[in-house]
Symmetry: C2
């Protein structure tokens, strides 16, 4: 009978969660600058007629309008009588009018504004140019809602434009190769949340991922055969262009270049031979990681003193300047500790001869030589913040990534750099590979409140030491949508709960559109469950979160074989679970409401959830496959059960007006501490909420988490 009660609750709680998720306002993300909602619904039927009032040759707007039209078609299942939207064709009486007053390609800083008005007459989207119109089309698609009568768009008056001009996503395709279809799905998702720059980190120690026709040994010897041909890259650039997205390539130099040296060892500051692979490797004998030693060890680095090296770089970058139409080119310049240079007597002699007092000066020299090559090719240079210094040309954009007060010296505050004349991009606080919850990115303190014209915006960044083609979508999305909103919407919009309410709806939208972030998680749980019932494992996984910060990466060093190179399978729970869980957010909201109002309905929901968790450990341990799958996180499962029992007990006491005996509270305090410990690079993510129940006050979530 107990079991019956416990399980009953499980389904009820699901129903409750979904009921609460429904709202009368559409889940727009990024939220517009101004939106006025008016009572009324514009119904979508098969007789919807749409006009595309624009230049007849506007292929960008035409492609996006038809893509969104098909999206509405797929979402509603309504087969529109109108076959497709023809650019330049104004259909009399059309109830959807999309107007772009000028044909335009995407360029940074352009007008991306639009207005969108929905009333009884229909829908009118108006923009100064094609790109503004496609941003508005994404808003329109998110406004599609469903009630018992069918689909509609709520009446509204929207005036919208972005806060920042550069809203990027960086994907490292080198550490683990990320294939074209995955990148295309990411581009689709970026378009949905109005991001406009895909920054591809194309080369690193582990792999050279772009075909070079002028220096074919770069990709042939510098990769395991996994690279983009130039034809493929042209296709990807065209795909992004039609969505108002620019692809900016990064060729990281002078460090992070081991893969270059596989084909061209003569470019290195230490003799070869080289093969592509991580900067540092650990052997079976290493049992702990010495970060300081790793950060100061010499790593493969380009020799910046030789003219023939610049000839090769010039040849390669000139080839790439033609392949990539973007006016920007990223040259990396990060994490060069100079150790390899200091070990080479010829390089030391060069420095002495030129009067350079440190390796930063030598790097500045190297950067200035690349600057000349880029200028010749009419490209604007971008680099990570290590390239910043007083000698840096003012038209070089500085991308910040190093956390303040952390393990490396930053280039300074974004404001100061912008004030000093260099454009700035912010990635500090936007690293999705650090497993931070969305609210941390959303309220990123590294983004100044005031917008200086030199502060162009920022980029979410996904490095791939521990991400691959299978799990990268779950890693980036939906959290990158919160970053996209931070970069688009007014600074005043910053309530995390409001953001989360919309975030999970956008996540469902991305799932519908074909993004694999949810499917990969579900399929991963099924894989781990073997022939066992995946739902028990799923109940636990839904309240786990990956260990945050660099701790996650470093924790794996305790089993050196797992990180010895990028072949290690990324298949554990830590690798497949999302960072933010809808179940956890909902539970937290319920606890908050219950503690402030003692609402019996909330109490019932909370009890239902707690009973499900309490009984889940037994379910998980009953089956051999599940028991094996759960063995690395069995401690979490057991703690979840204990915590849930404690939560139920606390509610009983609270409702009886009793307080918890001191001894009991003491032992629970030990449980909270114990339950917060990581296991297999995962953490139990509802400890604070249950502790809140026990202590009868909602404990705040951390404003930040340690990286180490």
């Amino acid at each position: 009978m107990l079991l019956r009660k416990l399980l009953f609750v499980c389904i009820c709680s699901m129903t409750a969660i979904y009921a609460l998720a429904q709202s009368n306002e559409p889940a727009l993300m990024p939220y517009p600058e101004r939106a006025t909602w008016v009572a009324g619904k514009y119904r979508i039927t098969d007789r919807l007629q749409a006009s595309l009032v624009c230049d007849q040759k506007d292929d960008i707007l035409s492609a996006s309008a038809n893509r969104v039209f098909q999206g509405i078609n797929r979402k509603t299942g309504i087969y529109f009588r109108q076959a497709m939207l023809t650019p330049g064709k104004d259909i009399p009486g059309a109830s959807l009018r999309i107007i772009a007053r000028q044909k335009a390609e995407f360029t940074r800083g352009m007008d991306e504004s639009y207005t969108l008005r929905v009333n009884a007459e229909g829908i009118q989207l108006d923009a100064a140019n094609s790109i503004g119109a496609i941003r508005g089309l994404e808003t329109l698609q998110q406004m599609l809602m469903q009630d018992a009568e069918g689909f509609y768009v709520p009446f509204a008056d929207i005036v919208d434009k972005p806060r920042y001009s550069w809203r990027g996503l960086m994907i490292d395709v080198s550490r683990h190769f990320i294939p074209l279809d995955v990148l295309k799905r990411n581009i689709d998702a970026m378009a949905t949340v109005k991001m406009n720059v895909l920054h591809l980190h194309l080369t690193d120690d582990e792999g050279f991922r772009i075909e070079s026709k002028s220096m074919p040994q770069l990709h042939q010897k510098g990769s395991d055969g996994q690279y983009f041909t130039q034809e493929e890259m042209k296709g990807l650039i065209a795909y992004a262009r039609l969505r108002g997205i620019m692809i900016v390539p990064e060729f990281d130099m002078p460090g992070h270049t081991r893969s270059w040296f596989a084909g061209y060892p003569e470019m290195a500051s230490a003799p070869g031979p080289y093969t592509p692979g991580p900067r540092f490797t650990l052997s079976d004998k290493d049992t702990a990681i010495n970060i300081a030693a790793i950060m100061s060890a010499p790593t493969p680095t380009i020799d910046p003193t030789r003219e023939d090296v610049y000839k090769l770089i010039d040849k390669f970058l000139t080839e790439m300047a033609t392949l990539f139409p973007s006016p920007y080119m990223h040259i990396g310049a990060d994490e060069n500790n100079g150790a390899a240079w200091r070990q080479n007597p010829k390089i030391k002699a060069f420095m002495e001869q030129k009067g350079m007092k440190d390796t930063h000066s030598l790097q500045a020299y190297f950067v200035s030589r690349l600057y000349t090559i880029l200028r010749k090719n009419k490209k604007t240079m971008i680099g990570w913040e290590e390239l910043y210094g007083p000698e840096l040309a003012k038209d070089v954009t500085v991308q910040k990534w190093i956390p303040e007060g952390g393990f490396m010296k930053t280039a300074g505050k974004a404001d100061a750099i912008a004030e000093g004349g260099n454009p700035v991009l912010i990635s500090t606080g936007f690293y999705t590979d650090l497993f931070m919850p969305a609210y941390i990115h959303y309220n990123n303190p590294n983004l100044p409140d005031a917008v200086h014209p030199n502060l162009w915006g920022g980029e979410a960044a996904q490095w791939t030491e521990i991400a691959d083609a299978r799990n990268i979508e779950t890693r980036i999305w939906p959290r990158a949508a919160a970053i996209a909103e931070r970069l688009w919407s007014p600074a005043s919009r910053k309530d995390p709960e409001d953001m989360y309410n919309r975030l999970f709806s956008v996540s469902r939208q991305l799932d519908e559109q074909g993004l694999q972030h949810t499917s990969a998680y579900e399929s991963g749980v099924r894989r781990l469950a073997g022939n066992g019932d995946p739902s028990a494992l799923r109940t636990l996984a839904d309240v786990l979160t990956p260990l945050k910060g660099y701790k996650n990466l470093f924790s794996r060093f305790s089993q050196p074989a797992r990180l010895a190179n990028n072949r290690a399978p990324l298949v554990s729970l830590c690798d497949i679970i999302p960072v933010d869980s809808e179940i956890k957010r909902r539970f937290r909201n319920n606890v908050a409401a219950y503690l402030s109002s003692r609402d019996p309905a909330k109490a019932a929901e909370i009890r239902i959830q707690l009973r499900t968790w309490e009984s889940n450990h037994a379910r998980l341990m009953r089956d051999a496959s599940l028991r094996h799958a759960a063995s690395p996180i069995a401690k979490h499962s057991e703690n979840l059960s204990k915590l849930s029992a404690a939560g139920l007990r606390a509610m009983d006491l609270l409702e009886k007006g009793s307080t918890m005996p001191e001894e009991e509270m003491k032992s629970l305090q030990l449980l909270f501490t114990e339950a917060r410990k990581q296991s297999a690079e995962t953490e139990l993510d509802i400890v604070g909420e249950i502790e809140s129940l026990v202590k009868q006050k909602l404990l705040p979530e951390p404003a930040q988490y340690p990286l180490f």
Copy 2:
């Protein structure tokens, strides 16, 4: 309390299902010719050492062995110390030895046999050549099992070879374009179940899907821009080759050629202009479909009387003969009713002049001209069975597809054609687009019991009038695995329950490998549920099956707009649900066991399931989004609830030793009839099982289903 009881059961039933799915024998599919299982387990650890004893240049075996090695690595999460398997390197003491005595490319009829022995010493896979070895590797991968201690391969002695040499899958990439990534995932799945031919139906009325450099208007005007470039096709051929799979192209002529005429209207037997599109279109005014009228109406057809037409065909096929290395080329030749020819006076005059008494003779003339072109290019011709006749050259392979006693005349029995000297392929009974359950394909009566040397094998066939990139994986898989087994395993292996037990395990394996057949279904249910809880919709969807046969396609004609062309969204439940449901099979097995043994444990499981179904309708109707999503199949939901109540009542009576009053039985009979009616091209798939409960005897499943 009632609700509590009902829901309790839901989770228990899941657990029961998964518990039953576990077995001590691995789920091999196709099942080997001979397998002996010995007590004992070979444990997989990170110290597994593997030798690839083969030619050093054996890239096929090397690629497959490393792919399977990585598959084991992903499945187990074990990071092997051995980085990769190097061909030709025999590692002393290796516990996994893979031996291929000869390097080989795949060719039809080659030796694909292997032996696999697992004992305490390790695993030895032995094959005459590379292709046999990669077939054995797939068996090895399926033998990986899991218990509470971890992963192992059970001790075994396997001797295996295929029954047929041609085990194909045909995919129509014309009606709906099927992109490269989807085809690659299909190739991976084919490799898993030892299929060896991917037959691509590249051209049809709706689209010309291959780039022609000699006649670029074919793909440029004959498609909507969705086609394979020759570079892409070369990549796909190479991808398939590494998996022992040959790609056979089909260029369907002389009918099904509307897309050809968009660029080359002069090839048609009636004047243009033409645009790509379905052979026949219906207008809003058509309310019913007249099959006979459609089948006899003139459709776009090549003019076979003109020499300049053969020059163009020669130019195109000669170009394709170089692009596709396969020695086979498929020229279609299906469904030409001759009506277009009879309407053209010049063609009629040509026939009279040549003394041809019917259009079949003219088609035979056309085929003989193509035969000459193919011979010149050293290609063996394949065609659909309509090309068969006494005049057909004996080295032309005849692919049967027309059901006996159906709507069209067949070319005769497979035996007779083979006996007459022509090679034969069977697709009759293997059409996955007809929504038949796997057991129908498995026991396909069109495949003769005796294997004549001219009977090469067969092909699963997936046409895409109502399948697209999103749902095609759910359409083909896992059912094609049952067809693969039929074509590989001995004829004596034909128990459907045994097949189903393994089929659902293979389905999980394909899911793990990245095939989207399950994820697409789940994501589709989430899409339909909107912001509502998808689990209620899922419970219903799990016991629905698409309407079977051509009825499904034709039912859509009742809403002509839905089929007017291939832009209609394929997003209804009918489009996303799989044909076979594991829940249904398990329920059927439980009912069978209960009726024969009165086992109380089975009775409990059945009751649990029935209560879940009984209460599901109320769950579904409670939420506005779900109510809207379920509206087209609300009748099924209601009937499922009523049937479940009836099943529970019948069990109560049975256990009390009472019989059902006649009146009640009569009204139930009406319910059974009512519940069997289709709704929105779906059928409720557990009516027979509940009727079995009520009538206290297991009703057999149909040996076949009507196509119309």
